[in-house]
C-alpha cells in the first residue's frame, strides 16, 4: 500500500439518522458536555461561538482527544466545526471538517445529517471515524429516544 498523500483530502462521509425528538434536543445533545458524556463517553466543550475553540474530552480521564474551532453555528439547525487529533493540533493539514444538519420534520422526527469531509483517503482519522460515527449516532438516537445510549 502506498502512503496516502497529505495533499489529497477528498474523502467524505455522510451519515444520516432519524430521531424521534426535537431539533433543540439534538443540538443540546451535541453541545452540552453533561449530555454528550451520557451517550458518547466524551464531553464536547466550548462556548460554541463562531471562531471559538472546542475540545472533545474523555469523560473518564479528562484527556483531550480532539480539538478544533467552531466554523459556523445556527442553533438548533446547524453546527460546523473543524476536527483534528489533539496530538496534531499544530498541523493545519490535519484538520477535517464536520457539519451537523438538524432538520425537524412535521411528523415529529428529526433528520440529523453528519457530513465529515476534507479527510485524507486511507488516513488514520478516516479509519477512526468510519467506525466511530455510526456507533455515536446510534447511541445518540437511543439516548434521545429511550434515555440510554448504547454501550461503547
Amino acid at each position: 500500500m502506498t502512503t496516502p498523500s497529505t495533499a489529497d483530502r477528498s474523502a467524505r462521509f455522510v451519515y444520516v439518522t432519524y430521531i424521534r425528538t426535537t431539533a433543540e434536543k439534538v443540538f443540546e445533545a451535541l453541545t452540552r458536555p453533561e449530555v454528550t458524556r451520557r451517550y458518547w463517553c466524551h464531553e464536547n466543550v466550548s462556548d460554541w461561538q463562531t471562531g471559538s475553540g472546542w475540545q472533545h474530552v474523555r469523560h473518564a480521564t479528562g484527556e483531550v482527544d480532539l480539538v478544533g474551532k467552531v466554523i459556523e453555528t445556527d442553533p438548533p439547525h446547524r453546527l460546523v466545526i473543524s476536527w483534528a487529533n489533539q496530538s496534531q493540533q499544530e498541523d493545519p493539514a490535519a484538520y477535517s471538517r464536520v457539519s451537523f444538519d438538524i432538520a425537524p420534520r412535521p411528523d415529529g422526527i428529526v433528520r440529523l445529517t453528519v457530513t465529515h469531509e476534507d479527510l485524507q483517503p486511507g488516513g488514520g482519522m478516516l479509519a477512526g471515524i468510519s467506525e466511530g460515527w455510526p456507533l455515536v449516532l446510534s447511541s445518540l438516537k437511543s439516548f434521545l429516544e429511550t434515555g440510554t445510549g448504547v454501550p461503547m
Binding site: A11, V14, Y15, T17, Y18, W133, L137, S138
Partner: protein, 106 residues
C-alpha cells in the same frame, strides 16, 4: 418498522453489492455505480431507491451530479437490537460456566 426496511434492503445480492461498492469508494454517481454492476441503469436506480428508503444510502447533490454515500447507522441499530443482545447472553453463559467450574475446583 425501520428494521424491516433494512433487512429487506439487505436481502438482495445486487443491493449488497452496491453497498460494497460504496464501502470501497464512498460518494459515487449513478453512472459510476452502473459501470461496476451487471444490470440496467433502471434496475440500479430502483435498488438505490430501496437502499435510500431504508436509510442505508444517503445522497447529496454536487452541481449537476448526485453522489451516493453508504450510511451504516441503521446497520449499527440492527446490530445492537439483534446481535449484541445474543452476544451478551453468550458472554453471560461463559461467565456462569467459569463460576461453576471455579466453584468445583479443589
Amino acid at each position: 418498522m425501520e428494521d424491516d426496511k433494512v433487512f429487506k434492503a439487505l436481502a438482495d445480492p445486487g443491493r449488497r453489492r452496491l453497498l460494497d461498492l460504496l464501502c470501497e469508494t464512498n460518494g459515487q454517481t449513478l453512472g459510476q455505480l452502473c459501470a461496476s454492476m451487471q444490470m440496467t441503469r433502471q434496475s440500479v436506480t430502483q435498488h438505490l431507491g430501496l437502499l435510500e428508503e431504508a436509510n442505508l444510502v444517503s445522497t447529496e447533490r454536487r452541481g449537476r451530479e448526485k453522489l451516493h454515500f453508504i450510511n451504516p447507522v441503521p446497520l449499527y441499530e440492527v446490530f445492537h437490537r439483534w446481535i449484541a443482545k445474543f452476544e451478551e447472553n453468550r458472554l453471560g453463559l461463559l461467565h456462569d460456566l467459569k463460576q461453576a467450574l471455579e466453584r468445583d475446583a479443589p
